[in-house]
C-alpha cells in the first residue's frame, strides 16, 4: 500500500467517524440486557451432585455424592425457551432421566436482573402459561458468563429446613 492510498483510506475513516457522530442517538429506547438473554437456550449436563444438606449442616461426612454417571444423567439436557421479545415461554427436560422436578412446563425468573445482594435468582417452574400453578423452583446459583456454563440447584425443604439438594452443572449445548 502506498502513501497515497493510505492517506485516502485514513481520510475515509475520519469522514465516516464524523458522519457517525452527526447521526445522534436522541433517545430511542433500547431494552437493557436481562438475565433471560443469558439463561435461555439449551443446556447439557456436565455434572450432577447430590448434597446431603442435613449432614452438611451438622458437619457429618460424606455430605455429597456424584450422580453424573447414573440413571441416564449423561443424556440430561434442559431448554429454557423465550419468545422474540425475550420473554420466557416453555421449558423442557430431555433425556430419559428420573423426574426430580416437573420435566416440562413454563418458566420465569424471580428477577429480570442479577440482584445486588447475594441471594440467588430463582427459576420458577409453572404448569401453565399464565403462571397460576407453580410446580417447583430452581436456584440459579451460577449465572452464565462468557464460558457458557450455568449452575442450577434444586433444594428439597421440609419444615423450612433444606435436607437434600441437587446441583446441576450445565454447559450451553449450542454455544
Amino acid at each position: 500500500m502506498n502513501f497515497q492510498r493510505m492517506r485516502l483510506f485514513l481520510f475515509g475513516v475520519v469522514i465516516c467517524w464524523l458522519t457517525a457522530c452527526d447521526n445522534q442517538d436522541d433517545g430511542s429506547y433500547v431494552a437493557p440486557i436481562t438475565l433471560y438473554e443469558k439463561v435461555h437456550g439449551e443446556w447439557s449436563l456436565m455434572k450432577l451432585t447430590m448434597i446431603d444438606e442435613f449432614a452438611r449442616a451438622n458437619g457429618i461426612t460424606p455430605d455429597e455424592q456424584n450422580l453424573s454417571t447414573l440413571f441416564n444423567y449423561p443424556d440430561f439436557r434442559i431448554s429454557f425457551n423465550v419468545d422474540e421479545a425475550m420473554n420466557p415461554t416453555r421449558y423442557q427436560v430431555m433425556g430419559d432421566v428420573p423426574p426430580l422436578f416437573e420435566p416440562e412446563g413454563f418458566w420465569m425468573l424471580s428477577s429480570d436482573f442479577q440482584p445486588t445482594n447475594s441471594a440467588a435468582v430463582r427459576i420458577l417452574l409453572y404448569q401453565n402459561a399464565d403462571h397460576s400453578v407453580q410446580t417447583g423452583e430452581l436456584r440459579l446459583t451460577s449465572v452464565p458468563g462468557s464460558n457458557g456454563e450455568m449452575e442450577i440447584q434444586l433444594v428439597r425443604i421440609t419444615e423450612g429446613v433444606p435436607f437434600v439438594s441437587y446441583v446441576f452443572n450445565l454447559n450451553a449445548s449450542n454455544p
Binding site: 447430590m50 442435613f54 428439597r156 421440609t158 435436607f163
Partner: protein, 360 residues
C-alpha cells in the same frame, strides 16, 4: 536384502497386531499380596507360594494356572491349554497357592535362579481367555546370614501369630553342637504361657520341633505360631521365647526372645444411607466401607406401602455403593410416610433392617 525387508515388515505387522491380541484377553486385574511358606527358603527347598486374588475378577474356587517365564518357562507353548502341573490349589477366602521345588520345576540350578531376573508370571484360566497382570514372586535373600557371625536371625524380625516365621541358627557359634544328630526348638509364647516343649521321648514331638539342617552347622526353623502352638481363637501373641537344643538335650543355646509385631485389627465395617433425610422424590444411596473379605454384594428390599423394590450393588473391601431411584419408583404414590429397607450381604447376613421416615 529383500528377505530382510520382508522379515522386518512381518515383525512390524506382528507387533501392530499385538495390542489386538491382548485386547481379546479379559484382564482379571492385578494379583494382590504374594507371600511364601517357608518365609525364607533355598532354591532347592520345597516352598508354597500364596496369591491373594480378592482384588481380581477371578471367581471363587475357579481353576487357575500359573504362567511363569522367568527363570524358565516350564509350560511353554501351552498358553491356550495350561498343563495340570501349572495348576494352583484353592485355599479358600480368594487365596490360591502353588507348591514347588524351584530347581526342579524350572529344571535349573540354584545358581541359575540366583542369576535370573526372578520369578515373573501371570495367573490365568486354563484356556488363557482370562489373565492377571504381570507380577513377581518376591524372594528374600538370606545368604548374608552364613557369613554374618550372627547366632540367630528371624524373618520377619517381629513375627505375627498367623503368619509364617523362619528362624536361622548358626550352631557353629555355640560350643557343643558339633556333630549333634539333630537340633530342636523348645519354645513358648508370651513368656512361656503356651508351650511347645522339646519332649525328646515323644517321636512326633521330636519330629515337629526339629530344625531343618541347611549344612555346615546352619539350621532353619519354619513355623506359623498359631498352628505350631495351637493357640485359641483370638489369642494375642506378645512374644515368643525359645532355645535350640541338641538331640536328647546334650547341649542348649542361650535363651532367645522375639517380640511380636503389633496386632492391628482391620477397621470395622460401616454402613450408612445417603442422604440422612430423604423424601420419596429423592435417590436413596447405600454405602458400606471396610467390608470383610468375601463381602462383595449388598442386596436390598425396599417396601413402600404395597410397592416392593429389590436390587443389588457390587463392590469390594474398600466400598460397596449404589443408589436406588425412588424418584421414578415411587412417583405418584400418595400417602407414604415411611419406607422399610432390608439390606443383606452376599452371605445372607442382615446388614440393615430399617424404617426410614419420608420428609414431606
Amino acid at each position: 536384502m529383500r528377505t530382510i525387508k520382508n522379515y522386518v515388515y512381518t515383525l512390524i505387522g506382528f507387533f501392530m497386531l499385538c495390542p489386538l491380541l491382548t485386547e481379546a484377553q479379559e484382564e482379571a486385574g492385578d494379583v494382590g499380596k504374594i507371600w511364601s511358606y517357608p518365609v525364607v527358603y533355598a532354591y532347592d527347598e520345597e516352598v508354597t507360594w500364596y496369591f491373594d486374588l480378592s482384588g481380581t475378577t477371578f471367581a471363587e474356587n475357579q481353576d487357575i494356572y500359573i504362567w511363569i517365564w522367568s527363570p524358565s518357562e516350564p509350560d511353554a507353548g501351552n498358553w491356550e491349554n495350561s498343563s495340570d502341573f501349572a495348576k494352583l490349589n484353592y485355599e479358600g477366602d480368594m487365596i490360591w497357592s502353588f507348591t514347588l521345588i524351584p530347581t526342579e520345576y524350572f529344571s535349573v540350578t540354584p545358581e541359575d535362579i540366583a542369576a535370573s531376573a526372578g520369578f515373573w508370571f501371570r495367573l490365568k484360566n486354563k484356556t488363557g481367555s482370562i489373565q492377571s497382570g504381570v507380577a513377581q514372586v518376591p524372594y528374600t535373600v538370606f545368604s548374608s546370614f552364613f557369613t554374618s557371625d550372627e547366632m540367630i536371625r528371624a524373618y520377619p524380625e517381629k513375627p505375627a501369630l498367623d503368619e509364617g516365621l523362619s528362624i536361622m541358627f548358626n550352631s557353629n557359634l555355640v560350643s557343643g553342637f558339633e556333630g549333634v544328630p539333630s537340633v530342636h526348638m523348645h519354645a513358648g509364647l508370651n513368656d512361656w504361657e503356651v508351650l511347645q516343649e522339646y519332649q525328646a521321648w515323644l517321636p512326633e514331638i521330636t519330629e515337629k520341633t526339629m530344625l531343618k539342617d541347611m549344612g555346615d552347622g546352619f539350621y532353619k526353623m519354619d513355623l506359623i505360631p498359631s498352628e505350631y502352638f495351637n493357640t485359641e481363637e483370638g489369642y494375642i501373641m506378645t512374644n515368643m521365647r525359645f532355645l535350640f537344643v541338641g538331640k536328647d538335650w546334650v547341649v542348649t543355646s542361650p535363651d532367645q526372645v522375639l517380640f511380636a509385631a503389633e496386632y492391628i485389627p482391620p477397621p470395622p465395617p460401616e454402613f450408612r444411607f445417603f442422604p440422612l433425610r430423604i423424601s420419596q422424590q429423592d435417590f436413596l444411596g447405600m454405602i458400606r466401607i471396610n467390608n470383610e473379605r468375601g463381602v462383595t454384594t449388598l442386596s436390598y428390599t425396599i417396601t413402600a406401602g404395597s410397592k416392593v423394590i429389590t436390587g443389588e450393588f457390587n463392590g469390594g473391601i474398600s466400598e460397596i455403593k449404589g443408589f436406588v431411584d425412588l424418584v421414578s419408583e415411587l412417583k405418584g404414590i400418595s400417602g407414604l410416610d415411611e419406607i422399610h429397607v432390608l439390606v443383606k450381604d452376599n452371605n445372607d447376613r442382615v446388614i440393615s433392617d430399617t424404617t426410614i421416615p419420608l420428609a414431606k
